[in-house]
């Protein structure tokens, strides 16, 4: 198990961020999601067709847990009769008041300019890389021949 808490770089607000191993790749299948806690922050990790994305699990509106919402596509239309659903499964709808967030960007669609869910960088990394650091394993036992998901937070 790797345990180096080496500070990597600074995030947007100037805070230090580090890389936290949070799950094995196969723990979160395509279309699935899982909530992890990293440095006391609840983060919901989504797997969209093998790509991983992480959002703070707190709706900017009234703080509902986004992980309890449904994943859906985005409805678009010019006028009635032209409605279509695009990017199925790539939006999370808040379980309370239904605001829609783009899982890839954290952007809200009702007010894209001002409402954004905090996004965390989520990537996959082969176990063999982990020994090189600067990864922090949270709750996951890691071994070198598997693939892992890490969050920068």
């Amino acid at each position: 198990m790797v345990q180096s808490e080496r500070r990597l770089k600074r995030g947007r607000q100037g805070e230090f961020v580090s890389k936290h191993v949070v799950a094995r790749v196969e723990d979160i299948g395509p279309g699935e999601r899982r909530v992890v806690t990293v440095r006391n922050r609840p983060i919901v990790i989504f797997n969209l067709d093998g790509e991983f994305f992480g959002l703070l699990n707190r709706c900017p509106h009234q703080a509902a847990s986004l992980s309890q919402g449904i994943q859906a596509g985005f409805a678009i239309a010019e006028v009635p009769g032209t409605e279509r659903c695009i990017r199925r499964g790539e939006f999370i709808r808040c379980p309370w008041h239904g605001w829609e967030y783009d899982i890839r960007t954290g952007q809200s669609w009702c007010d894209p300019e001002s409402i954004l869910v905090r996004r965390f960088k989520v990537e996959r990394v082969p176990g063999s890389e982990l020994v090189k650091g600067p990864f922090v394993a949270e709750t996951v036992e890691v071994s070198t021949d598997e693939e892992y998901i890490y969050v920068e937070a």
């Binding site: 409605e83 008041h97 009702c110």
Partner: protein, 366 residues
């Protein structure tokens, strides 16, 4: 086509800003006055059956609101005297142009044919008896919304006369106004660049509230803003706003102060159920600011400078208000329809710039 007014719409560039009153009500005295504009069949129908008294239920002629006491003339329908209207609205209130909204029985008739005949006659009567005689007057086209095909034909007929500057609909009809049923009206409006004025007044096809019929006229009139909110929700929800991007909707005699809470609530709901109406692409509050304008009277806001500024900020800014006296309805006393605390920058905007920006026909300097 008659000559346009000598009043020169100039938008104020030379310092003598054109002042426009966007809602005044000439009264049709009796159905007899419209007979010259009907064919014989209808003249006989009205005469032989003694059909008269076609003032709409929203404005009972003797109700205090329907005519300011000092403007009442014994034995006359409110607003029926053209000289009085010109004297008060243009001379006393100091406007250069007034837009007539003749609210009469054609708008509410149960028979589509009678509706069409009355609306057509009303438009002809306005043109000949009012617009021809005072070049400072303009009018809305009144249409039989009971039959949108006939309504569109009437728009086509009147649109050739540039003194008709918009189309008027009542705020409560057979169906809510966003429905595709009405789109022929909007096709014609968009084609001719005419705003749609939605004016207070009801066909009384449904109880006047979602919870049944109240006992009093006062309650019906008090509920008018509710009808406006219903139409705004429906125009958005049915995609009419999206389908006719060229049309500006004027809320006339609606009151104003109900707008912010409506905009906030409608926006909150939309954020949650947007997928049901995906053609609404931005929050209803943004749609309102872009696509709707509202007339001044009845001014239902506390007459206080800061409150007025705040309200105007909330509804979207100084471009939203259109000056109106609502003559002869009794909405205010004295000689100035502008509330005393109205900030000066808003007065100029609502009397001149805002009307000119939507009534393109007032800009066509001939």
């Amino acid at each position: 086509m008659p000559e346009l007014s000598e009043a020169r719409p100039d938008g104020g560039s030379n310092g003598t800003a054109l002042k426009i009153d966007c809602d005044v009500h000439p009264g049709v005295p009796t159905v007899e006055a419209l007979m010259p504009y009907m064919d014989d069949y209808w003249v006989d129908e009205f005469r032989n059956r003694q059909i008269d008294g076609l003032e709409i239920a929203t404005y009972p002629p003797n109700a205090p609101l329907s005519c300011r006491p000092d403007w009442r003339r014994d034995g006359e329908r409110p607003g029926a005297d053209r000289d009085q209207l010109s004297d008060v609205v243009l001379d006393t209130f100091g406007s250069d142009i007034a837009i007539c909204n003749p609210v009469y029985g054609g708008l509410v008739a149960l028979s589509e044919q009678m509706a069409a005949v009355l609306c057509r006659a009303t438009n002809c009567w306005i043109a000949e008896q009012w617009l021809d005689r005072d070049p400072r007057l303009r009018s809305s086209i009144v249409v039989p919304a009971q039959n949108p095909i006939l309504a569109a034909e009437e728009i086509e007929r009147c649109a050739a006369d540039a003194r008709f500057v918009q189309i008027m609909l009542l705020v409560a009809n057979e169906l809510l106004l966003g429905r595709q049923y009405y789109w022929p009206i909007y096709e014609a409006a968009q084609k001719h660049g005419l705003p749609i004025c939605i004016h207070a007044g009801s066909m009384y096809r449904y109880p006047t509230t979602p919870s049944g019929w109240p006992s009093h006229y006062l309650q019906d009139y008090a509920a008018t803003p509710q009808l406006f909110t219903a139409q705004m929700q429906n125009l958005m929800s049915e995609g009419a706003l999206a389908r006719f991007p060229g049309i500006t909707f004027v809320l006339a005699e609606s009151g104003i102060s109900w707008l912010p809470p409506y905009m906030w609530r409608a926006s909150r709901t939309w954020k949650g159920v947007r997928g049901e109406v995906p053609w609404i692409k931005r929050a209803p509050s943004a749609e309102v600011r872009d696509r709707f304008r509202v007339t001044l009277q009845p001014f239902d806001v506390t007459d206080d400078h800061d409150r007025i500024e705040k309200l105007v900020e909330q509804i979207g800014g100084e471009h939203m208000l259109l000056f109106s006296s609502d003559f002869p309805h009794w909405q205010f006393d004295g000689d100035d329809p502008v509330p005393s605390a109205m900030p000066e920058h808003l007065v100029r905007k609502m009397r001149t710039d805002n009307p000119l920006s939507i009534y393109t026909r007032l800009r066509e300097d001939k």
